[in-house]
């Protein structure tokens, strides 16, 4: 299967995993991730993908099984969403600290309670500190492409870390788009089979996932931290070689749009970016120097890139689908911390929207720019509310 096909984000991701030749797949179903798992099972069943599919009884086991397989040197894949991601949370720190380069797709979905199957980013953002590389994609094509790139990043010798690729639940996972499916030859030219010294080995038996006492534990954490920072160094090369073979490029940790001279910049993650770009174009026609930045990687966090991209801005807003209760949005906390090191003073705004799948309209996005333009108060605000915020 190659060439242009009309498929959903989940299906696109499954195609990416097939092309990356994941050798062991273990996953547990949860809406809106299920389709990726179903497609992969079909591919294995029909012989399109030579892989072992493990039917596990939970997400905790899904990630633990992937870890066991990764320890033998195999390329592994798992996928989950929301409560499933939280259920495997203990294992996230495990595989990250153990430096197992597992790739996981997470279909971003609200976290209970209140119960909701619809999308927001609270699931993955609440686990930002678990030591994984976190990528957020914008459309089905990027999702497929990042499934392949994720393995190149994860398995890079100076990185050797797990990667979580996040797709907005339903908006991305279930929306059909025309997607260019690369050929296996292209994928093979880009991604070699996994080679590693860091595995169980009968010739040189090892112990893995061990205990480190207070004497060296901090040093281990420092190595982990540096490995994550190394992503910034490698991502551009990986993207350049990707472009040479596939003819598509995504740039680095962020994607700026009309930021060169922008005075007001709105920062987003994931699928809402298209709408924000449209609003930026409208505002530009109205004479407002608007711009937008899509953060592609939340970890490592693109601090330097954001400072560079906001060099001319007087105000920067974050439009995000999450809230760290009792404080502010997590993306905003990260952005604000980075911009505090900017050479010039920037006003920063936090707009919380799209929680539990709530629609974000063009007017909502315009209202974010308007608040920045009018230099309104910098308090955290929830946008697009049905009920007025007078509680």
């Amino acid at each position: 299967m190659s060439g242009k096909k009309f498929i959903s984000g989940d299906e696109a991701f499954a195609q990416g995993v097939r092309l990356a030749k994941a050798q062991v797949i273990s996953a547990y179903p949860i809406t809106p991730q299920t389709i990726v798992v179903e497609r992969l099972s079909e591919m294995v069943e029909e012989g399109e993908l030579d892989s072992k599919f493990l039917h596990v009884e939970s997400e905790h086991s899904a990630l633990m099984a992937a870890m066991g397989a990764a320890a033998t040197g195999a390329r592994t894949f798992t996928a989950t969403s929301s409560q499933g991601l939280l259920y495997m949370a203990e294992c996230l720190t495990y595989v990250a600290g153990g430096r197992f380069p597992i790739v996981m797709m997470n279909a971003n979905r609200a976290t209970a309670l209140p119960w909701s199957i619809y999308g927001d980013h609270r699931d993955s953002l609440s686990l930002l500190d678990h030591g994984w590389i976190q990528i957020y994609t914008e459309n089905a094509q990027e999702s497929l492409d990042m499934a392949i790139q994720a393995y190149a990043i994860a398995e890079q010798e100076e990185i050797r870390l797990p990667v979580m690729v996040n797709l907005d639940g339903f908006v991305l996972t279930h929306t059909y788009e025309a997607v260019d499916i690369p050929t296996q030859e292209q994928a093979d030219a880009f991604l070699k089979p996994r080679e590693t010294w860091d595995k169980l080995d009968f010739d040189k038996p090892v112990s893995m996932a061990y205990t480190v006492g207070p004497d060296l534990n901090e040093e281990y954490n420092l190595l982990h931290h540096k490995a994550l920072l190394n992503v910034a160094k490698h991502i551009e090369n990986i993207d350049v070689s990707f472009e040479k073979i596939f003819g598509r490029k995504y740039g680095g940790l962020i994607n700026g749009y009309r930021t060169e001279d922008a005075d007001l910049i709105l920062i987003t993650l994931g699928s809402i970016s298209g709408l924000v770009r449209d609003v930026v174009d409208e505002l530009r026609e109205e004479g407002v120097k608007a711009g937008m930045i899509r953060i592609r990687f939340m970890r490592p966090f693109p601090a330097e890139e954001l400072i560079r991209e906001t060099a001319h801005a007087s105000a920067v807003g974050v439009l995000e689908k999450d809230i760290s209760f009792g404080f502010e949005g997590t993306v905003y906390s990260n952005v604000n911390s980075a911009l505090s090191k900017s050479a010039h003073k920037i006003s920063t705004y936090d707009f919380i929207g799209g929680i539990g799948g709530k629609n974000i309209s063009k007017e909502d996005v315009r209202s974010c720019f308007a608040a920045m333009q009018k230099k309104e108060s910098e308090e955290v605000r929830f946008i697009g509310l049905e009920v007025e915020d007078d509680i």
Binding site: Q23, V24, S26, S51, K52, L54, H55, V56, E57, S58, H60, S61, A62, M64, A65, A66, M67, G68, A69, A70, A71, T72, G73, A74, T76, E90, C91, Y94, L200, D201, F202, P205, V206, S207, M208, A209, Y210, T211, V212, G213, L216
Partner: protein, 303 residues
């Protein structure tokens, strides 16, 4: 399938090679004896997984690793899943001639890891799961687990003015496992080490998942002398409070049926964890023992 399919392992023919040494287990630790013997039977080409618990805590302390075969720690609840992952990985890597072994405690098996164990047996991956049962959460300081026997004083079921220690009987783990219709399950005791070694061997010859539940006293948690471990592990079989059995081909087999059970008093009285028990409690323990045996005998074939 018969238990005598190949030459039996005994003290004379078991390998002199050691795969588990330099660890920090307490003197007289029954669990570490079970680990040592299991690895001697299976050999160097064993991929071992251990979850949190005493056996991993005493042996994976960087830079002092205690296994000379390949080994990995699992999250506490994940042994069954890591076993499947290791097996799947070994298969796709094309490895040949090896064993995949999981060794978890009673808490790691009968409580927090029971779901993953059930998933493993359901997948029927060709691996061995060994549960060393010291009848409490020892690594965290002797708390009650689902396999702590009736009357045991632990740090979370302290015997005091009102309390008699743990009021629940041990879960029937062997029967829970057998109810999955697993290809091979067995109980064992480190007091009958040859029987245990041969059950490990048999498990390695079975295709699909096999499970062994070995009773392994813990001097620290049981309040016995470090020299008494093996003796106590024999006595508990001889007095019927533990049993040696197998499940295969869909049927239960009792391996050792004492003509007459040894009196349980000496077993109870010699252990600090039981020292508060009175005659009433001992009667209750005997009644439960007899109930278990009656049920097992009803199930069992042969012998």
């Amino acid at each position: 399938m018969t238990s005598e399919s190949t030459e039996r392992i005994n003290a004379e023919n078991i390998t002199e090679d050691e795969f588990f040494f330099g660890h920090k287990a307490c003197a007289g630790c029954g669990g570490s004896l079970a680990v040592r013997i299991a690895l001697k039977v299976l050999g160097e080409r064993t991929l071992l997984v251990e979850p949190a618990g005493c056996m991993s805590a005493v042996s994976f302390n960087y830079p002092q690793m205690s296994f000379s075969n390949n080994a990995i720690i699992s999250a506490f609840a994940g042994t069954g899943a890591v076993l499947s992952g290791l097996k799947a990985g070994a298969e796709v890597m094309g490895w040949k001639d090896y064993h995949v072994l999981g060794i978890a405690g009673d808490g790691g098996t009968a409580d927090i890891g029971l779901q993953a164990l059930s998933g493993l047996i359901d997948r029927n991956d060709d691996v061995i799961y060994l549960c060393y049962d010291n009848e409490a959460y020892m690594n965290t300081g002797i708390q009650k687990s689902g396999l702590t026997p009736f009357g045991t004083s632990t740090t979370t079921t302290p015997a005091g003015k009102k309390g008699k220690g743990n009021l629940k009987h041990k879960k029937n783990l062997f029967e829970i496992v057998a109810a999955h219709d697993i290809p091979y399950a067995a109980t064992a005791s480190i007091g009958y080490i040859e029987d245990f070694a041969n059950k490990i061997k048999r498990a390695s010859e079975v295709r699909g998942t096999s499970f062994i539940h070995v009773l392994a006293p813990c001097p620290t948690g049981w309040g016995i002398d470090t020299s008494e471990t093996v003796e106590v592990a024999r006595e508990v079989v001889d007095n019927g409070l533990w049993y040696l059995a197998e499940y295969y081909d869909g049927e239960y087999h009792i391996n050792r049926k004492p003509k007459e059970f040894k009196d349980i008093h000496s077993y109870i009285k010699r252990q600090g964890r039981f020292k508060h028990l009175d005659e009433e409690d001992i009667k209750e323990i005997i009644a439960q023992r007899d109930k278990t045996w009656k049920r097992l005998q009803q199930y069992s074939v042969g012998q």
